[in-house]
C-alpha cells in the first residue's frame, strides 16, 4: 500500500495529487470540482457511454471522458472551459429531445440529475420540433417501475444487476434511438437488492412503486441513520414529511454497505410511523393502567424495584446507549438480562464483500451482547420468581404468558403497549423509536455507528437513554443522562470495547470496536 505512485495534476487551476490509475473525474472530486456525469457511478464498472463527463485536457486532440480517462502526471484539465461546456450542453440537449419534459408529474423532480445539470449547464430552449418517441411504462417487478420515456440509457441499472447483484435480469434491448432497458418476460426484478436500481437511476426512469406519487423530493426532511432491519447496519437516510417516514434510502459507507441497501430494509419502515404508540407514562392503579406523569411513573417503578432483582428482556433494536443503561440497572440490582432475535432468510449482495441482508433481523445484536445480555430463544428462562421484569421494547410475541406471570412486577419501557401489557404491566414508560432519537448501533462486525433523530416522538415519549437514565437515577444510580452523546461518553468510559470513542470520532461513518479491530487484523 505504501508504494502507490502519486500523480500530480491541475484541475480547474487547482493542484491535486492522486494515486496512479485514478480517473480524472475522481481526481476532480478531490479537487472540489464536480464533473457532471450520468453513467459513471463509483460503485459500478465504468461504461463511458453518456459522454456527459467530457472535459478538456490540454494538449489532447479531443475532449476526454473524465470517468474513463486515467490521470497523467502534469496534466492540465479544464472542466468549465467553453469547449467542454459546449460539449456537455450538446449532450444535455440530445438527452432531452425525446424526454417527455414531464417534471411536474415525475417523482424524480427535485433530485433529478437531468434537471440539475440542465439548469446548470443546459440550453434554455430545445430546438427539437419533431415527434418524440414513445414507449409504455413497464412494471419491472419487485418495487421497480420503468418509465422508458425518461430513460437516458446510462445502463447503471443493467450494470448493477449484472456486476453487483450477479443476477442480470436487465439488458439494453434494441439499438439506436429505439433502445431501451428491457427484461425477459416472466423474469422480474425480484432480487433482494434490486431496489438499488431506483437510487442508481439518475433520472425518473426507474421509480419505486412504494413511494410513487407520495411526496415531492423538496418536501422531505432528511436525517442520517442506520438501517434497523438487520444486523448488517447499512447506512441510510431517513426521509420524512410531516413527521412521517416516507422513504429510506442508502447512505454510502465503503466499510459497510458501499452505496447499497436491500429491499427488505428499504421497504420495512411503516412500523416507524405506527399510530398505536404508547405516548404517555402509565401506572397501574386499582388494577387499571392509568395515565400518569413521568415523575409519578418513575417513582412507581423505583418502588417496584426496591431491593428486587431486575430481569431485563431487551429488544436488540435498542441503542447501545439504552442497552448500556439497562445493563447498569441489571448490575445495580444483581439481576440478569436477555434478548431474542427475529430470524429471516439471509440474502447477500455478491458484488460487495461482506454485505448481506442478515438472518438476524435486528440492528443491535452485537451491541446487546456487549452490554451483557444473553441471547436466547427462551428469553425468560433466566428470570427468577419474584424478579421485576423490565420489558424494554419487546412485544413478547409468542412468549408464554405463564412465564411472564412468574415476575413479581412488570415494567414496560417501550414504544408500544402490546395487548398482554394492558393487564400485565405495572408501570409503562414510553420511549422514542430509533428514528425519533439519537444513538448508536453496533453491527454484526462490531462497527459502532451513529443514527440521528429524523422525526419527533409522539406525546410524552422520551428518548430511550433519557427514560432509562431517569429510571436508573430513581433507584440511586447517577443523576440521569441528558444527551445521547453524554450517555455514549459514559459507555466509552465504562467499556473497553468502546474506549476512546465519542460521537465526534464516530461522526457519520462509525468505527469498529476494539474487539472488531483485533478480529479484522487477525
Amino acid at each position: 500500500m505504501a508504494d502507490v505512485k502519486m500523480v500530480n495534476l491541475t484541475i480547474e487551476g487547482r493542484g491535486v495529487s492522486v494515486p496512479d490509475g485514478t480517473s480524472i473525474l475522481e481526481a476532480a472530486k478531490l479537487a472540489g470540482v464536480l464533473v457532471p456525469h450520468y453513467c459513471y457511478h463509483p460503485g459500478l464498472p465504468v461504461a463511458g457511454v453518456c459522454r456527459m463527463c467530457l472535459v478538456e485536457v490540454e494538449k489532447a486532440p479531443k475532449l476526454a471522458p473524465s470517468c474513463a480517462t486515467a490521470v497523467v502526471e502534469g496534466q492540465v484539465v479544464h472542466v468549465h472551459s467553453p469547449k467542454a461546456l459546449e460539449a456537455r450542453k450538446g449532450v444535455l440537449e440530445m438527452l432531452l429531445i425525446n424526454h417527455p419534459l414531464d417534471c411536474p408529474i415525475c417523482d424524480q423532480a427535485g433530485e433529478c440529475e437531468l434537471q440539475d445539470y440542465t439548469y446548470q449547464e443546459g440550453r434554455a430552449e430545445g430546438r427539437y420540433r419533431d415527434p418524440k418517441r414513445f414507449n409504455p411504462v413497464e412494471d419491472f417487478g419487485g418495487d421497480v417501475m420503468y418509465v422508458a420515456n425518461r430513460c437516458i440509457l446510462c445502463t447503471r441499472c443493467v450494470r448493477f444487476m449484472d456486476d453487483i447483484a450477479h443476477d442480470p435480469v436487465l439488458a439494453v434491448v434494441e439499438r439506436g434511438d429505439r433502445a431501451l432497458i428491457g427484461k425477459f418476460e416472466g423474469e422480474d426484478l425480484t432480487h433482494a437488492w434490486a431496489g438499488n436500481v431506483i437510487d442508481l437511476c439518475p433520472v425518473g426512469a426507474l421509480l419505486s412503486k412504494d413511494s410513487l406519487n407520495k411526496a415531492r423530493a423538496w418536501e422531505l426532511d432528511r436525517a442520517a441513520s442506520v438501517c434497523p432491519n438487520c444486523s448488517q447496519g447499512c447506512n441510510m437516510i431517513v426521509e420524512t414529511r410531516d413527521n412521517q417516514v416516507m422513504r429510506l434510502r442508502p447512505r454510502p459507507n465503503a466499510d459497510v454497505n458501499e452505496f447499497f441497501m436491500c429491499d427488505h430494509g428499504r421497504l420495512n419502515y411503516r412500523w416507524m410511523n405506527r399510530a398505536d404508540r404508547v405516548d404517555t407514562p402509565m401506572v397501574r392503579q386499582n388494577g387499571v393502567l392509568a395515565r400518569a406523569d413521568w415523575e409519578v411513573a418513575l417513582r412507581a417503578a423505583a418502588a417496584l424495584l426496591g431491593g428486587k432483582r431486575a430481569f431485563v428482556l431487551a429488544s436488540p433494536n435498542l441503542s447501545n446507549e439504552a442497552l448500556f443503561l439497562l445493563g447498569k440497572l441489571v448490575a445495580k440490582t444483581g439481576g440478569a438480562g436477555a434478548f431474542r432475535v427475529n430470524q429471516g432468510q439471509e440474502a447477500p449482495l455478491p458484488g460487495v464483500k461482506d454485505l448481506a441482508l442478515r438472518a438476524d433481523r435486528a440492528a443491535n445484536v452485537r451491541g446487546a451482547e456487549l452490554a451483557g445480555f444473553t441471547r436466547s430463544d427462551a428469553p425468560l428462562s433466566g428470570m427468577m420468581a419474584g424478579d421485576v421484569l423490565i420489558v424494554a421494547d419487546e412485544e413478547l410475541d409468542g412468549v408464554d404468558a405463564t412465564d411472564a406471570a412468574r415476575a413479581g412486577a412488570v415494567i414496560v419501557v417501550g414504544t408500544t403497549l402490546p395487548g398482554w401489557a394492558r393487564h400485565g404491566a405495572n408501570v409503562v414508560l414510553p420511549i422514542a423509536n430509533c428514528v425519533e432519537e439519537d444513538g448508536t448501533f453496533t453491527n454484526l462486525r462490531g462497527r459502532v455507528q451513529r443514527f440521528f433523530q429524523a422525526k419527533a416522538a409522539p406525546g410524552l415519549a422520551r428518548p430511550s437513554f433519557f427514560a432509562i437514565g431517569d429510571l436508573l437515577a430513581s433507584v440511586g444510580d447517577g443523576a440521569g443522562y441528558w444527551t445521547a452523546s453524554q450517555t455514549f461518553d459514559a459507555l466509552a468510559a465504562a467499556h473497553t470495547e468502546f474506549a476512546g470513542m465519542s460521537y465526534d470520532t464516530l461522526a457519520l461513518k462509525g468505527a469498529p470496536t476494539a474487539g472488531a479491530m483485533t478480529e479484522a487484523s487477525a
Binding site: 414531464d102 408529474i105 411504462v137 434491448v173 428491457g182 425477459f184 416472466g186 422480474d188 410513487l212
Partner: protein
C-alpha cells in the same frame, strides 16, 4: 397500482404473450446439439457461441422465439434477458415469425440512387403486401427495406430469407416472384 394517464398504459410483469415451455420442443437435441458442441470447441467461453447458437435456433424455427432464447441461455449459462439484449441488437434475428418469403431489399444510398425504391414498390404491389413490413394476405410474402447488403455494384440486391439475390430490377420482379413460388 396508481398510474398516470400521461404515462400510458402500464404493462405488468408476467403477461407473457405465450406460455413459456408449455408447448416448446427444445432445439438442441441430437444433431443440433452435436453441432453446438462442436462450435463450443472453437471458443474459450461458452458465451462466444451465442450468435451461432441463435442462428441454429432461427434455422430450425424460422425465428427466435422467447423459449428459444431461454433454451440458449440455459445451455450457455446466460440469462434470458441477456440473450434478449443480444438478439434484439442484431437485425437478422427475427423476434417474430416471418412470412414464407421474407424479402429484404437494400435501399441504402448507393442502391437508392439506382432505383431501389422502385423495386420495393414493385414488390409491394406484386406480392399484395401493399405496405412495408406487412405480410401479404396469402401469408407468403413480406417486404422490408434493409440497410446496405454490401452488394452496391449489383443493384438492386435483396435477400429472400437467407438467399442473396443481386441485380433485381423493376422488370425482373415478376420473374423473381415466380421463381419463389
Amino acid at each position: 397500482m396508481t398510474n398516470n394517464n400521461e404515462m400510458g398504459e402500464m404493462r405488468s410483469p408476467g403477461d407473457a404473450s405465450h406460455d413459456l415451455h408449455a408447448t416448446y420442443t427444445p432445439v438442441f437435441t441430437g444433431a443440433r446439439k452435436a453441432e453446438l458442441d462442436e462450435l463450443l470447441t472453437r471458443y474459450p467461453t461458452k458465451m462466444a457461441a451465442l450468435l451461432p447458437a441463435l442462428w441454429i435456433v432461427q434455422h430450425e424455427r424460422g425465428w427466435v422465439p422467447a423459449e428459444g432464447m431461454a433454451e440458449v441461455a440455459a445451455i450457455l449459462e446466460l440469462t434470458p434477458a441477456y440473450v434478449k439484449g443480444v438478439v434484439s441488437f442484431y437485425t437478422m434475428y427475427h423476434q417474430h415469425p416471418v412470412a414464407t418469403h421474407f424479402i429484404q431489399v437494400c435501399t441504402t444510398s448507393p442502391c437508392n440512387v439506382c432505383g431501389a425504391e422502385d423495386v420495393v414498390n414493385a414488390l409491394l404491389k406484386q406480392t399484395g403486401c401493399e405496405e412495408l413490413g406487412v405480410t401479404s394476405p396469402d401469408g407468403k410474402y413480406a417486404v422490408i427495406e434493409v440497410e446496405c447488403l454490401g452488394a452496391c455494384g449489383f443493384n438492386t440486391p435483396l435477400m429472400v430469407n437467407e438467399q442473396f439475390i443481386e441485380s433485381v430490377t423493376v422488370e425482373s420482379v415478376p420473374a423473381l416472384l415466380a421463381s419463389l413460388g
